[in-house]
């Protein structure tokens, strides 16, 4: 009878030994390490460099707090609009086959591809007095330039693709047969959506909302065109950097990173729950 040390390698152990010897494994590992370091090192350095006193001072600064609060409110508003208006669109894209569907999907992805200052300029171009929509908005008292409304509009624009694509994927995971059975049992289309589709897709809706909000909270290019003031956190960081230098912009950036990390963690927790349920 052989001792444990003499036992031949199990499948897993053999696979591990093979992977260690394989040059491709080392190439893949090295590339991955470079990528992870590339993302983490600047962020860690930025968090590590400011003194605790500077961090404390930054968070006690009413302007900094106000900008972070405004960032959260406006990006939350963008996520809420995406939820209300984007959910039906995501459902239609997931369930219906119609001419121009691919084109519509491409249009939804446009905000990801367009340079973000262009997004700001595009929004302003329809908000002016020379445009019928701009006239209508002014008639009902809606202003885009330099307002919270403008901020929410521009953040919704950049965040929508993230919400719609995530929720659409969620709807696609649900078998249409569940909805067919629900209809045959007497539920209307709306009743089926509320009692079957929505309860099964809620995790994707939450994840989509968080992704939309995370994208919106980090937006700078489009925001600076539409509303330098009131000042959201990315604009505040930019202003501190250009006016006072790196040392004064870092503490605000650290606080913004922490907020983003909380959002990111929420996203991961919800995603992990979904996988566990699956």
């Amino acid at each position: 009878m052989s001792s444990p040390s003499q036992c031949p390698a199990t499948g897993d152990q053999g696979l591990r030994r093979w992977a260690i010897r394989d040059p491709f494994h080392w190439l893949a590992f090295s590339c991955s390490a470079v990528i992870v370091a590339f993302i983490l090192v600047p962020l860690i350095e930025m968090i590590r460099q400011p003194a605790l006193g500077d961090l404390q001072a930054a968070i006690l600064d009413r302007d900094v707090l106000g900008s972070i609060r405004l960032s959260l409110i406006t990006s939350g508003g963008a996520a809420a609009i995406a939820l209300v208006l984007g959910t039906p669109l995501a459902y239609i894209l997931a369930r219906r086959r119609f001419p121009g569907r691919k084109l519509l999907e491409s249009i939804i992805d446009l905000p990801i591809m367009i340079p973000h200052p262009v997004v700001g300029i595009a929004l302003l171009s329809i908000a002016g007095r020379n445009h019928p929509l701009g006239k209508l908005m002014q008639a009902v008292g809606v202003q885009i330039m330099g307002t919270v409304t403008g901020l929410i509009a521009v953040l919704t624009f950049v965040g929508l693709p993230f919400y719609i694509n995530t929720v659409k994927a969620g709807f696609e995971e649900i078998s249409p047969r569940l909805e067919h059975v629900s209809r045959s049992l007497g539920a209307s289309a709306g009743g089926t959506f509320c009692r079957v589709t929505l309860p099964l897709a809620w995790r994707h809706i939450v994840v989509g909302g968080i992704m939309c909000m995370a994208r919106a909270v980090s937006e700078f290019g489009a925001v600076i065109i539409v509303a330098y003031h009131p000042m959201v956190a990315p604009v505040m960081i930019y202003e501190r950097f250009t006016a006072y230098g790196l040392k004064y912009s870092q503490p605000v950036a650290v606080w913004l990173i922490l907020v983003c990390m909380v959002l990111f963690l929420l996203l991961r927790i919800v995603s992990l729950d979904r996988k566990a349920a699956a």
Binding site: H180, V181, R183, L185, A187, S188, A189, V196, P199
Partner: protein
């Protein structure tokens, strides 16, 4: 009852073409056909799930063509059960009750009766994701039946089940139909389902109904060569080839006058008897040939036998292969009762 008149459905790459079908009240009717024939599409058209491009659909004498699924009085059970994974067994079964008029006490009685009848009493609080295939299928049946639909549509309800559960659910379906007298339209490609459950069947091929009739009619007297091939007539031969054949021609001519007016003659492989080669000159086995292929199907083996240019397929018990020395290339003699040839005029 279910009545389809010229039902047409146009999808990308597939179409149902003017399907006419009548399922009588209280009848158990099976739709048969190969995969992709359009069987499920007919079911979903009746349920109102698929938009139709033409024709009329009536359920229990009521024209439901333009009605949404929830107004049709149709229950549907899919092969994969389509149970709601976020609800437990009881909530799945009770899902449709709120949409149907009637007293709460009546609904409760029906629910209790069904879970007792289907053996679900001990499972009501279980998550549906933890149930076996047979249990899931019983829950799906209870969910459809508790709303008292006018008709029940079953889309291959046994196809995804293990053999032991399949037999159990088949018996259950037969018992439910016997007790309730419900009109049932079931899609299947399993002949056992048709023989065990159906009073009548229809065979569908590429979106068209090829033949409708009792199980015996369709399986013994197929109307087209496509149906003959589908229901197991492995030998569908052009009549001209048979008439010209030195062995088969005289044989079939004895019993079938005017055979040349038909396009095909078909015979089931189980109606071809293989006799020992030593009986070569026996009048009981006038056709001599040799085995060209052997396909073992477990208990039975299918043999392809070349009889001077025509290949016939016959089945024998696998145990006979050894005792009769039936092997590739072996000489054999065939006996065919000419009355077992079925003549077909349509392609």
């Amino acid at each position: 009852m279910i009545a389809l008149q010229h039902l047409s459905v146009q999808l990308k790459g597939f179409a149902l073409k003017r399907v006419d079908l009548a399922v009588h009240t209280g009848e158990y009717f099976c739709l048969l056909g190969p995969t992709g024939a359009g069987k499920t599409l007919i079911l979903e058209s009746v349920a109102g799930i698929v938009p139709i491009s033409g024709g009329r659909i009536a359920v229990s004498g009521r024209d439901v063509t333009g009605l949404p699924p929830e107004k049709r009085g149709v229950g549907i059970v899919y092969q994969d059960c389509a149970l709601f994974p976020h609800l437990n067994v009881a909530d799945n079964i009770r899902f449709g009750l709120r949409y149907h008029n009637g007293s709460a006490a009546g609904a409760r009685t029906r629910y209790d009766d069904l879970i007792h009848k289907l053996g679900l009493s001990s499972l009501t609080e279980r998550s549906v994701t933890t149930l076996s295939g047979g249990e899931q299928q019983r829950v799906a049946l209870a969910r459809a039946l508790v709303t008292q639909p006018d008709i029940l549509l079953l889309d291959e309800p046994l196809a995804a089940l293990d053999p032991c559960y399949r037999e159990e659910i088949r018996d259950l379906l037969a018992a439910l139909h016997h007790e309730t007298g419900l009109t049932i339209l079931m899609v299947t490609h399993d002949f056992t389902d048709a023989h065990r459950l159906a009073q009548r069947v229809a065979v569908l091929h590429e979106g068209r109904i090829q033949q409708t009739g009792t199980v015996a009619e369709v399986f013994n007297r197929p109307a087209t060569s496509l149906v003959a091939d589908f229901v197991g007539f492995k030998n569908v031969l052009p009549t001209r080839a048979i008439i010209d054949h030195p062995g088969l021609g005289p044989l079939i001519g004895i019993q079938h006058d005017g055979i040349e007016q038909h396009r095909y003659a078909a015979i089931r492989p189980e109606h071809i008897h293989l006799l020992s080669a030593s009986l070569k000159n026996d009048t009981r086995a006038p056709l001599a040939g040799h085995i060209t292929a052997i396909a073992n199907h477990g208990l039975f083996t299918e043999l392809s036998v070349d009889i001077t240019g025509i290949i016939l397929k016959a089945v024998v018990p696998t145990s006979k292969l050894m005792t009769e020395q039936l092997e590739q290339g072996a000489a054999v003699n065939l006996r065919i009762d000419p009355g077992n040839f079925h003549l077909i005029s349509n392609p």
